[in-house]
Amino acid sequence: MYKISLDNINSLFAAIAESKELFLPVKKAGQANYANWTEDCEVALDSLKTVKSPKDAFFPQFETLYKVNRKIIPTDASEEEGSETLVETKLRTKLEITPTELKDKDFVVFGMKSCDVKGIEALDKVFLTDPVDNFYKARREHGIIVALACHEPEESCFCTVFGVDPADPSKAKADVATWIVDGELYWKAISEKGEELTKSVASLLSDAADDAADAEISNITNIMTKLPNTKLSLEGWGEGKTDEKFNSEVWNELYKPCLGCGTCTFVCPTCQCYDIKDYSTKDGIQRYRCWDSCMYSDFTLMAGGQNRTSQVQRFRQRFMHKLVYFPDRYGMYSCVGCGRCVDKCPQSLNVVKVIKAFENEKKEAGANV
């Protein structure tokens, strides 16, 4: 275990940034979001939850996949034959395709909370199983995760429900685990990548006792038990529950306030749906992908219409996907209990309310029997 004083933390950032891109919570116009570190940025390590999750680091909201450009070039004499037009021409067109290069430099994501690290695990399930997403894979290979323990969890947090330990990031699949206790940042490398990173900044770190964070860990663990949503039960969800949940009447009531906006999706650390679109530029197109939301009315819109035509279907899809289909397929929930949707939904709907609504349904059904 190492430590560094928070007073000195900027020199740590500067040292990392010297050789790697550094991605960490930055406050801009009043809101904390992950962004590239610059000397004049306002780092917000004390923010419990950034508005957007750090999944952008591995799966950005927008990325160009490749560019297609049309070039007019002189033709060879041999190719001229059989030209149909009346005009004698010595030119022809050619399409030039330039794929975007894969990430090939190491970068550090600093300050990820355990829930967000767990979110990356969910993304891995999707993007790293066949067919592998090369863009994502390259980023995962080059990304170094420095996780940070939560300090004062809030009432919207319920990560423990999904087996996340917010107090001890060394249990998460990160490369380095850190804690902030009394003005010191405690640092513990977990993986090989983490060890290497530690080496590269070793001169700035000083030794610390291995149990230095233990008090903080038990403090946070204790707080978590007091939070209302951590007592949530996932009974009735998970693998094999499709039939039972899909046809429930509860959805028909629950979805009504839903605006069909994408706030929950875009702040969520595990949502991984994207759309691929073309943007026509001067003399070609850029094919890009961007996050999409299953809450949107034009999600998966095809020539023949879309497969979910009403908001209740879309609403159900999102939560069934997180709590039933994803476990069915990958053996884990696609919710990590970060509570961002609890904070941000404009209509105060969220995954917790959904789970609770089904609990109530069960109770009421039991009462009726």
């Binding site: 049309r70 007019i72 149909e84 037009t85 009346l86 005009v87 021409t89 030119l91 067109t93 026509s280 001067k282 003399d283 023949g304 219409g305 879309q306 035509t309 009403s310």
Partner: protein
């Protein structure tokens, strides 16, 4: 994907001298959808059109772009050509590389580059064009003529003679117009009334013609072939049917101090009056503004003396609504106000008069019974000065920029008539140029100089100053002698500029007819369609289009009539298919579009809407394509983009923007 052919016109050297036509052909070949490109010296020629037709057939073209002159010039030509070759005419677009390119740029490289971009934009648009079908609308076989002067009269007679019904709306109590105020006409010197009166009688007795005098157009709606017009018939206070035209009421009317408009206010008339003796209809009106009965409630003399019992003080303004297939504007002119021309002392001396006032003075039925005399002391003048171009050809705010066209000739006429009748009167004409194009016109002017010894001086008058002895001091210049001339005159006659009737602006707005900055109505084409307004179904007759003399007005009136007859002869009209169209899947039914539609073409109805996952009854917009004129105001107002304009769709215009910004 379209199969587009691009045809680049040289327009002789008009385009080819500045735009490298071959290079344009070479470059546009690579545009998406283009399968054929060629150039030709004159695309609009028979051979050029033949080339387009052949390519359409041989290459199975689905779209055509012609890079040539303005689409306002030849779009119709090329669309017709395509239609004959079996292609929907609305699959043709024109890239304007002449007016918007070759004619305004000098640098060949730059102009060629721009021509390629303009062609690209047109190609991008054609890629999104869809075949459009013109609809049909019926034609009401009746015409409206606004204005009852010689232009309106001649148009009405010509239309009526072809067998169609015509209504004339005239603002004043009688038809006749300006021509009825004139004494003699140039260059033949025949009496104006003598040639006009038979026409007035003909028009009033023609079975196909209805005359609404003392009436105004109040409201116009509809479109070519199908206008609905509200005509306001002002209360005449005299029953048209009962009145025998005996004239006793006018003699007995105690209120005789009303300025006489017909005589240019040189004398007065009674409150109940017919403007002139030959008025049609010969039925007086009561000028309610001056009538004692209406002002004080005490009089009623006319009613008492009227044997026929025709006077009706209770008569009200009446609105009648009629339907017309075509409307002819023949609202004529007036002379400009001279209050800004202080230097000519028009408002200071009664002996400085306008030429139109001189017409009334010379007229036997005028204020002086045809005797030439000064209005101040009724003495015959000895020296008369005519000043030309008063307010015409004037670049400043006081006058008009154009030449009024008729002044040179009528001044020669006046000078000659005076010298003929009063050989001892000296007549001097100050002129800038003497313009006499026209049959026998210059001979006429030369007669004034050579036979009647009218003193023509090249130069202007700077100042007219009334003298204490009642004479007028005229200070002018003789530019040939380079001398300033100061002379005494007894009368000064000003050739004031003419201007369109001031009512025209209101009327043009009602008709949605374009109007220029001088208030003349704009022609659909200055040379090729001079009697039509760009607004379909609206035709121009007489000075409403531009300054004209009588023979020209009469010929134009006939031309307008022919155009009207051509329109009324059709049973149905093809309508412009470039109309607005509502995508009911997206329409909110919010009524925003209906609020901005100038034609009332958008209505709402509950309609069952079906689409993927949708099947419900919704309130959606409906466009009446017969009423829609394709302005697109609705498309800009529609928040959801449900309303689009065919032929100028959102996607087409955006693709043009994209093509230009490449």
């Amino acid at each position: 994907m379209q199969r587009i052919g691009v045809f680049v016109c040289h327009c002789g050297t008009n385009i080819a001298a500045t735009v490298d036509v071959k290079k344009v052909v070479e470059l546009v070949r690579f545009e998406p959808g283009v399968v054929h490109a060629e150039d030709y010296p004159y695309m609009c020629s028979e051979v050029g059109q033949q080339k387009i037709a052949e390519a359409i057939k041989e290459k199975q073209l689905t779209g055509v772009v012609v890079c040539s002159c303005s689409p306002r010039m030849h779009e119709a030509t090329f669309r017709n050509c395509a239609e004959k070759a079996g292609l929907n005419p609305y699959m043709v677009e024109v890239a304007n590389i002449r007016e918007h390119c070759s004619w305004i740029h000098k640098d060949m490289e730059e102009a060629t580059k721009k021509a390629v971009i303009l062609a690209r934009a047109a190609i991008a648009k054609v890629n999104l064009n869809t075949p459009l079908q013109a609809g049909e609308s019926p034609v009401v076989k009746r015409a409206l003529v606004i204005g009852g002067g010689i232009a309106g009269i001649q148009t009405a007679i010509d239309i009526a003679e072809a067998g169609y019904k015509v209504d004339i709306v005239e603002k004043t109590p009688s038809i006749g117009g300006r021509m009825s105020q004139l004494d003699k006409t140039f260059p033949t010197l025949d009496c104006s009334s003598c040639i006009l009166t038979p026409k007035m009688v003909e028009v009033s007795t023609h079975p196909n013609i209805t005359i609404h005098t003392y009436s105004e157009v109040d409201k116009v709606s509809g479109f070519v072939g199908n206008f609905t017009v509200d005509i306001k018939k002002k209360a005449r206070s005299v029953d048209l049917d009962k009145c025998t035209g005996c004239g006793v009421c006018q003699q007995k009317c105690p209120m005789k101090k009303v300025p006489n408009e017909f005589n240019r206010e040189l004398n007065t008339r009674s409150a109940i009056y017919t403007p002139f003796a030959q008025a049609v209809p010969n039925v007086p009106v009561i000028d309610r503004e001056h009538c004692l009965m209406f002002k004080t409630g005490k009089c009623g003399v006319c009613s008492k003396v009227c044997q026929a019992g025709a006077v009706d003080y209770e008569q009200q303004d009446e609105i009648i609504t009629e339907k017309y297939g075509a409307i002819v504007v023949a609202t004529g002119f007036d002379i400009i106000k001279l209050d800004k021309y202080d230097e000519y002392a028009y408002s200071q001396s009664p002996d400085v008069i306008t030429s139109l006032e001189l017409e009334r003075i010379m007229n036997a039925a005028g204020p002086t019974n045809g005797h030439l005399e000064r209005m101040s002391d009724h003495k015959p003048p000895k020296n008369m000065v005519f000043i030309q171009c008063v307010g015409s050809r004037c670049a400043d705010h006081r006058g008009k920029s154009y030449c009024s066209k008729i002044c040179c000739m009528y001044t020669a006429k006046h000078a000659m008539l005076i010298r003929d009748k009063y050989p001892d009167v000296n007549v001097t004409v100050f002129y800038i140029d003497v313009r006499t194009p026209g049959k026998n016109f210059d001979e006429f002017y030369r007669r004034a100089v050579e036979q009647y010894h009218v003193n023509y001086i090249k130069g202007q008058v700077g100042k007219v100053a009334p003298q204490p002895d009642g004479s007028l001091l005229v200070q002018g210049v003789d530019l040939i002698d380079n001398k300033q001339i100061v002379m005494n005159a007894d009368m000064v006659v000003l050739a004031a500029a003419i201007e369109p009737n001031p009512d025209i602006r209101k009327i043009a707005t009602m008709l949605t007819a374009s109007i220029d900055t001088n208030n003349f109505l704009t022609e659909a084409h200055a040379k090729l369609r001079p009697v039509e307004s760009p607004t379909a179904g609206i035709f121009l007759s007489g000075v409403t289009q531009g300054p004209k003399d009588i023979p020209e007005t009469v010929s134009q009136a006939g031309a307008a009539a022919v155009k009207v007859i051509g329109l009324l002869a059709k049973d149905k009209l093809k309508t412009n298919p470039c109309t607005a169209k509502c995508d009911v899947m997206m329409c909110n039914g919010c009524s925003t579009c209906a609020n901005v539609c100038p034609y009332g073409a958008i209505t709402y109805e509950d309609q069952e809407v079906r689409g993927p996952g949708v099947r419900e009854v919704r309130r959606v917009a409906q466009v009446n394509v017969a009423l829609c004129q394709g302005c697109g105001a609705c498309t800009g107002a529609c928040p959801s983009g449900a309303m689009d304009l065919q032929g100028f769709s959102n996607r087409q215009l955006i693709s043009e923007v994209d093509a230009i910004c490449r």
